[in-house]
C-alpha cells in the first residue's frame, strides 16, 4: 500500500521522527486560496526529494482555474507536481483531454459528485484510464460507488471523512483571508452526527472505524493521512 500525507499549506512539515512518505499532498480541497504557487512546489520538492508531490485541488472558479492551469504549465518543465488530485469536473476533463502531464487522482469531492454514475458508461471508462492513478473514498458510502476494477484504485482518506463545505468562510474577516484555517481542526458537537470537526471551511468527522472496515473490504491502493495540530480521534485504520 502506498503511503501519503496531507500537508497544511506550504509551511507544512512531516512530524519529527516520521520518515518522509511516498506521496506528499499539498494545496487544498476546500478552498482555492490554498493552492500553492509554483515556487512553493519547488521548495517542497527540495525539502522532500524522495516524496512525490500531489497537488490537492478544490472546486474551481474561473479565475482559480486559469491560475491553476498556468501553474501546471509552468511546473510541467520541472515535472511538478507529479500528480494532481482533482475535485473539479472541468479540471478533470481538461487534464484528461490534454494527455501527458501529471497523473491524476479523483478527489473525494469529485468522487462524491460523480457518485453512482461512476459505475457505468463514459464516466467509468474515463476513470479506468491508466492516467487516473486512483479514486478517493473516505466512507463506506463512497466506497459503494466504486465497483469492479475501480475498487483496485481506492485511495483511502483518513482519519476524517467529508460532511460538507461552504465557500462563505468563517475565517475570512472583512473580506480578507489570513489563512487562520491552517491552524488546525476545531472540534464541534452536532446533534446530527455527534462529534465533528471544522477544518477551514469544511465539516469533517472521524472515520477511523469506517476506514478500518474499508481496509477489510478492499485492497487499498493508497492510504492518505491527514494530520493537524488538533488531536485526531484515537484509532487509525489498520494497514494491510
Amino acid at each position: 500500500m502506498e503511503r501519503a500525507e496531507v500537508l497544511k499549506g506550504c509551511g507544512g512539515r512531516v512530524p519529527a521522527g516520521a520518515t518522509a512518505p511516498e506521496f506528499l499532498y499539498v494545496g487544498g480541497e476546500f478552498c482555492e486560496r490554498l493552492l500553492p504557487p509554483p515556487a512553493c512546489l519547488r521548495r517542497l520538492k527540495e525539502a522532500f526529494p524522495r516524496s512525490k508531490l500531489v497537488l490537492l485541488t478544490p472546486v474551481l472558479s474561473q479565475p482559480a482555474l486559469e491560475s491553476l492551469l498556468a501553474t501546471l504549465k509552468a511546473g510541467a518543465r520541472e515535472g511538478l507536481p507529479q500528480e494532481v488530485c482533482v475535485n473539479d469536473p472541468g479540471l478533470f476533463r481538461a487534464l484528461l483531454a490534454r494527455g501527458g502531464g501529471p497523473r491524476l487522482s479523483v478527489g473525494r469531492l469529485l468522487a462524491g459528485a460523480l457518485g453512482v454514475s461512476m459505475q457505468h458508461g463514459q464516466v467509468r471508462r474515463d476513470l479506468l484510464s491508466p492516467r487516473v492513478a486512483g479514486i478517493e473514498a473516505d466512507s463506506l458510502e463512497t466506497l459503494s460507488f466504486l465497483t469492479g476494477a475501480l475498487r483496485r484504485k481506492v485511495h483511502l482518506r483518513a482519519p476524517f471523512s467529508y460532511l460538507g463545505h461552504t465557500r462563505n468562510c468563517r475565517f475570512r474577516a472583512a473580506g480578507r483571508c489570513a489563512r487562520q484555517c491552517l491552524a488546525g481542526h476545531l472540534r464541534l458537537r452536532s446533534g446530527i452526527v455527534g462529534e465533528m470537526f471544522l477544518a477551514g471551511n469544511a465539516y469533517l468527522r472521524d472515520n477511523a472505524e469506517e476506514a478500518a472496515r474499508i481496509t477489510e473490504q478492499v485492497r487499498v491502493k493508497r492510504l492518505v493521512l491527514e494530520r493537524g495540530p488538533a488531536k485526531a480521534p484515537a484509532g487509525r485504520p489498520r494497514p494491510q
Partner: protein, 276 residues
Amino acid sequence: MKIICGVNGLSEAGRLAPYADELYFGVSFVENHRKWYPWQNLRTLGEAAELVSLAHGAGRKVLFAANELYPRASFSRDMRNIEKVLALGPDGVIARDMNLLGRLKRNGYGGEVCLSSTAICFNSETLDLFSGLGVSSVVLPQHLKAAEWRRVLRRRPGTRFEVFFYPDCYCPNMDGLCVYHDVNRTPEPRNCWKPYFLGGKKEFMRKPPIRERYLEFYRMARLGAERVKIARDAGVGERIRTAVFVRELADRIKKGTGASEFLRSVELDIWNGRKS
C-alpha cells in the same frame, strides 16, 4: 427575467400558473433532488401528463427534474421511466448525470436540457464538459459569485443561465456535494439549519447575510440571468407571494435601478412586511 416555479402537486399547478412564466416538477418514480421530501413529487405518470397539459394550456413552459445520479443496476429502468415522462411533452429536462445526458444526446432528445445546480458547474471547462453532452442552459450553483460567473461569460458569451432566488433559497454548504444534509436518512432532514456547538457555544452553519444574497441576485440579473427559480420547498401560498415579489424586483432591475437604490427598496419592502 422569467420566473420558474416548482410544482409539488396538480392541485397547486393551476394556482401557480398565473404567477410564473414556467413551471418544473419531479415524479416519485424517478429520483430527483427531493429524495427525502416525497410530498414534493408528483406520484403518477397520469398526474405528470395532466400537469404538462395544464401548463401548456395556460401557455407556460414546463420542465421535468431528473437531477440525481442513476446507478448501473437500475439505469435501464430509470431511463425507461424518464423517457415515459419526456414522451408526455414537457419542454425540457433538468439533469446532472453524465450518463443520462449522454444517453439523451445519443437518442436525439430535442427539448431543453438544463444543467442542475448540483452539477457544480463553476467554470468554463465544466461548462464545456456538459455542453458537449447536450446541455443548453445552466442553473448556477448558489455558492458561485456573480463576479466569478462574469469571467466564465467572458469566455463563453451567450451562455443561457438561471439562478435561484437566493434570499429564500441558499444552502449553507455546497449543494451537490453536501453529505451532511441527509446523513441521518430521515424525511425532510434540513440538518444544515440545525445548530452545532463550538466550545459550548451554539452556532449555525453560515450563509451570507440576507443583504448580500439580494445583491447577488441583483448582480446575476444584471449579468443576464434568463430565469429565476423559486424552489419547491415552501407552501403554495408562500411561493405565489414570492413570485409576485420577485417579479417586482425583476422589473426594478430591468428599469435600470442602481444597486444601492435596489437594496434600499428591498429594505423598505422587508420593513413593510412584504417579505420576511
